[in-house]
């Protein structure tokens, strides 16, 4: 029973007095967790279905191309690196639409974000970690089929001096696409705690951008307004990056209209940089105030 004085009993609870890992460790852990989570690794089996399905769907044409090239003994790949990314753009957009909300909307919905910030984790770290994780995930999504193409080209004994620069260029392009898409996806997803609405909003934005770009460019080309047609590529992430690649990095020109000249290339490059910076800034702004 109780006595007059209060007593605290020693139940053997031990404090941890040792060294604690700091900001960088937390940010790195968050990055790894989010990057793996984008493919459902480390989460339930159901969350693996969609990302893995899309990954398989994106890699499948690469396999087919490799098979065709080896079987027909062609002297170049049946499908090139640059246009591959453009052709699978829809699948990549669906992936971003599905996984970006999974990354940030859950934290917002269950109001866990404030828990993150009650640790030695700055806003910048959180945003950087999530952004880097999403970029990595999308990059892997694109790099994998491109690598399959490259390996297939090696197996088919195609001349290396053509393949290697193309392959490396396409990887750079994949990275840029990943940066832009991840940025757009995360910004939209961070605006709403409802996952379903986030998914719909992201795909709406991306699909509409692609559609508008396609329509405007096609019409401009028909009407002969070539400069305008060239700049129409700014509207959609994929054509934006493609523009940078072809004018700055010297990749093949596969679009209907490429950015006109050096000025065009500079504009596209600046635009890409601006989009990424703007998305990063928007995310920082969004996470400045989080509720408990």
């Amino acid at each position: 029973m109780t006595t007059g004085q209060g007593v605290i009993h020693d139940l053997g609870y031990r404090h941890y007095d040792g060294a604690r890992a700091g900001r960088r460790y937390i940010a790195r852990a968050l990055f790894l967790e989010s990057a793996k989570g984008a493919y459902g690794l480390g989460r339930s089996a159901k969350s693996k279905v969609m990302p893995m399905l899309l990954l398989a769907a994106i890699c499948l044409p690469a396999f087919i191309i490799v098979v065709i090239t080896t079987v027909t003994n062609a002297d170049k790949l049946a499908g090139d690196y640059t246009s591959y990314v453009l052709n699978v753009s829809l699948l990549v957009m669906v992936y971003v639409a599905g996984q970006a909300p999974t990354s940030v909307s859950r934290d917002l919905r269950f109001r866990v974000v404030s828990l993150y910030f009650s640790r030695p984790l700055e806003r910048v770290d959180y945003v950087l970690a999530k952004y880097a994780a999403m970029t990595t995930a999308v990059f892997v999504l694109l790099a994998l089929p491109l690598t399959i193409l490259f390996v297939g080209a090696l197996l088919a004994k195609l001349p290396l001096d053509e393949q290697v620069p193309d392959y490396l260029r396409s990887l750079v392009g994949a990275l840029l696409v990943a940066l832009v898409l991840a940025g757009i996806g995360l910004v939209i997803a961070a605006l709403t705690p409802r996952r379903g609405l986030g998914v719909a909003a992201i795909i709406a934005v991306l699909a509409v951008l692609a559609g508008v770009q396609g329509a405007v460019q096609a019409i401009a080309v028909e009407e002969g307004a070539d400069t305008f047609a060239g700049y129409a590529g700014l509207f959609s992430p994929f054509t934006l990056v493609q523009g940078v690649m072809s004018s700055v990095l010297g990749a093949e020109k596969v679009l209907e209209a490429e950015p006109p000249g050096a000025l065009g290339g500079a504009v596209f490059f600046a635009a890409t940089f601006l989009v990424v910076a703007a998305c990063f800034g928007a995310l920082l702004l969004r996470y400045r105030k989080v509720s408990i």
Binding site: A200, A201, E222
Partner: protein
């Protein structure tokens, strides 16, 4: 159909963010059409391309997705549907009321917009505007009911709906022509084709499915979705916060 359910659903569906998104989609279509008309003047090929390729293929399915899943998805997700289910109301009545709201929203933001877009692009020539508007209406109803059913059946309704509307109908459909027979888009295009009249083929308004096949299939999907959604709603299990 129940007026109170309609009211509650409408208030929820047209909550700020969703309404902005729906409005944005319609406005972008209209702006694009205005821009194109300014660039290229009146051109039936372009009209067919934009209305058929962009409006019906992208905007209408997205509207259907947002409105169809938004009419019931969030309520099931956070459990507030219990207030509708714990009443002596027929589940079919609940589904019908929600479908009505979704369809109304899709009609206003989709079909009416497509009509206006068509008029902007090429006036009343060749019945294109009306044809596509009716096609958009029918497609909108189809998508809305199908996605509402998806929202009752699974918590990942938006993603599944997306995979269907964009991947199956567009991507797979272009590589595997057989997939186009199971596409709401093609069914509604069949109706558009009929409304545009005899010039349809010449203008490029074609559907992979004949009218005789499209109408029953649309009917089946719409009625079937509503019925099945009501049936599944009867056995909806409520769980505690995940």
């Amino acid at each position: 159909m129940n007026a109170t359910v309609v009211q509650l659903t409408a208030r929820g569906l047209l909550g700020r963010r969703r309404a902005y998104l729906l409005l944005a989609l319609s406005l972008i279509l209209l702006l694009l059409c205005a821009l194109v008309r300014g660039l290229a003047g009146q051109d039936t090929d372009i009209t067919v391309g934009i209305l058929g390729g962009f409006a019906i293929a992208t905007i209408v399915p997205l509207l259907g997705l947002i409105a169809g899943t938004g009419a019931i998805g969030p309520e099931i997700d956070d459990g507030s549907i219990v207030y509708l289910l714990s009443k002596p109301l027929s589940r079919f009545s609940i589904v019908l009321s929600k479908v009505a709201v979704a369809v109304a929203v899709i009609t206003v933001f989709g079909s009416v917009t497509v009509l206006l877009a068509g008029l902007v692009l090429s006036g009343t020539s060749d019945n294109l505007a009306v044809g596509y508007a009716v096609g958009a209406l029918v497609a909108g109803i189809g998508y809305g009911t199908l996605f509402l059913l998806l929202a009752v059946v699974t918590r990942h309704a938006v993603v599944v709906g997306l995979l269907y509307a964009l991947i199956w109908e567009t991507l797979v459909g272009s590589y595997v022509p057989g997939a186009q027979t199971l596409s709401i888009q093609q069914w509604s295009l069949a109706i558009t084709e009929r409304l545009v009249g005899s010039d349809a083929e010449q203008l490029g308004v074609t559907s992979a499915v004949s009218l005789g096949a499209a109408v029953p299939m649309l009917f089946f999907v719409i009625v079937g979705s509503v019925w099945y959604a009501g049936w599944r709603l009867r056995s909806l299990r409520l769980t505690s916060d995940e």
